[in-house]
């Protein structure tokens, strides 16, 4: 009794995707505790629903969509969202144009980019992370966010523009910084 037809399959889903979904949620919420809760809820929902999933479904994209939805609900009507906007403003770099060219290390550039991403409006932030960090197709990003692939693309575009603007007043690591970064 109590046989679960495809629990083995679900176990494999967890093994394959849990860590990545968790990372995604850390990036979106900025908090491990929230990522813990939301990732758990993501997989519990998936567990309840996965039996009805078509055999050829893209499970990874589906999990991202569930996680994204939970995030949106999580932030909805919460002050956190406004705080995120406030953080966005704070994250816009002050004009310290005096920074000498080439001095900004990739690590710093990355930190600055992260700050900008953290400060993006929720949809832009999620679109950006889904596409640029987790490399989902725009169609899947759109499905997660409940918008078209084109709108998803526009969100990512806006996010990139903001990051680019954030670097405007700062000297950036050169294009080759990535390659010359010493390995640690």
């Amino acid at each position: 009794m109590g046989r679960v037809m495809d629990d083995g399959a679900f176990e494999a889903v967890i093994t394959a995707h849990h860590a990545e979904i968790h990372r995604y949620l850390v990036r979106v919420t900025g908090r491990r505790s929230e990522a813990d809760d939301l990732s758990q809820e993501t997989f519990l929902r998936a567990y309840r629903a996965h039996a009805g999933l078509p055999a050829d479904a893209n499970v990874r994209a589906w999990l991202f969509a569930i996680a994204t939805n939970l995030c949106r609900n999580h932030f909805r009507g919460e002050k956190r969202r406004r705080l995120a906007h406030a953080a966005a403003e704070a994250a816009v770099p002050a004009d310290d144009g005096g920074t000498p060219e080439g001095e900004m290390l990739l690590v710093e550039a990355r930190a600055r980019a992260s700050e900008v991403v953290d400060g993006l409006p929720l949809k832009q932030r999620m679109a950006f992370i889904l596409r640029k960090v987790h490399e989902l197709e725009y169609g899947a990003v759109g499905e997660s966010l409940g918008c078209s692939a084109e709108t998803a693309r526009a969100h990512v575009f806006q996010a990139l523009k903001k990051i680019r603007r954030a670097f405007d007043t700062l000297a950036m690591a050169t294009a080759g910084a990535e390659r010359t970064e010493p390995t640690r």
Partner: protein, 327 residues
């Protein structure tokens, strides 16, 4: 930076796409053509390529607080619990009409009367069990077989393991437990159950709790009746089923002026706290409130639970005349 010329603004999206390798070949060619003649946009393209490099490194950068080990362990433990809540259900035909039976790994958790043609709502069952609901693949067969024997009068006990986790609240638990103790072939009143669980004034609440009995038949709420002897209700408006279930156990009901009722004068009495069963005419038993008596359909039923005949009224020597025919 001064505002960009319209042509530059127009190409910007393609430019960003090109920088991150997402542009279509046509868009990439447009950008190539444009930047070859526009220094400003060439610089933009370079800038966006740098941004793309940073973004790519972002992807590879470790997160400080991302260790998912704990979260995964918690998830696994939640799932283990959910698996024990997996509800396997099946719709069966029965002499009482279509009936839905569900069980989890822990035991039978659901018995429901369905309307003819009523579809089973698996989503509702999943919510009810707090887990998932799937069509049974044959494991309920033996449960169903026993149920048929029971409804046929060939079996007096349903010794199913029960899963009562869908029951919310200790009050309903207590009511169901007290009801489950009512022997085959016996009836008691809602007021009697209320008294059993130490809440003598909660008669209506007892009736409500039994109305939401998740396991009718298995938890024999059909053995609980009104203090007047009226069957009152059962599974919504299915009081006829209550009459039939009681008839299987030998408890006859008669159509009174307005409703189905049992007749105390034709049933053996067990007074609260006693260990001997009596004729209804013994002492002043018939004037005692229903809350204080349990009624038995026959001497066999009373003796089957270890009761002895009363030494004064001697039901063993003067048994009640069995009722004949259908009422």
């Amino acid at each position: 930076m001064s505002p960009a010329p319209p042509a530059c603004r127009e190409i910007e999206a393609d430019l960003v796409a090109t920088a991150s390798g997402e542009a279509s070949p046509a868009a990439a060619r447009r950008v190539e053509g444009h930047v070859s003649a526009c220094d400003r946009c060439q610089r933009e393209l370079d800038r966006y390529r740098e941004v793309d490099g940073i973004v790519q490194s972002l992807r590879r950068a470790p997160l400080r607080t991302s260790d998912p080990t704990l979260a995964r362990a918690e998830l696994e433990s939640k799932l283990a619990d959910l698996r024990t809540r997996l509800l396997a259900f099946r719709r069966f035909t029965s002499p009482l009409g279509p009936i839905l039976i569900g069980r989890t790994e822990l035991g039978v958790s659901l018995v429901e009367y369905l309307e003819p043609g009523e579809a089973v709502d698996a989503a509702r069952l999943a919510r009810l069990s707090g887990g998932r609901a799937v069509e049974d693949t044959g494991e309920l067969e033996s449960v169903y077989g026993e149920l048929l024997e029971y409804l046929d009068g060939r079996r007096a006990r349903l010794d199913w393991p029960l899963d009562l986790r869908t029951v919310r609240g200790s009050f309903q638990h207590r009511v169901l437990e007290a009801t489950a103790r009512l022997p085959y072939g016996a009836v008691a009143s809602y007021a009697g159950i209320a008294r059993d669980i130490g809440a003598p004034r909660a008669v209506r609440a007892v009736a409500q709790a039994l109305r939401h009995n998740p396991l009718p038949i298995a938890i024999p709420c059909h053995r609980v009746i009104g203090s007047s002897g009226a069957l009152t209700g059962y599974a919504g408006d299915k009081v006829g089923l209550k009459q039939r279930l009681l008839a299987v156990e030998g408890v006859r009901t008669a159509s009174g002026r307005r409703h189905l009722a049992i007749d105390r004068r034709r049933l053996y009495h067990l007074f609260r706290g006693e260990h001997a069963y009596c004729l209804p005419s013994c002492g002043s038993l018939l004037t005692k409130p229903m809350a204080d008596v349990t009624l038995f359909a026959s001497r066999d039923r009373a003796e089957a639970v270890g009761l002895e005949p009363c030494g004064e009224c001697r039901p063993d020597l003067h048994p009640l005349v069995p009722m004949t025919g259908a009422d």
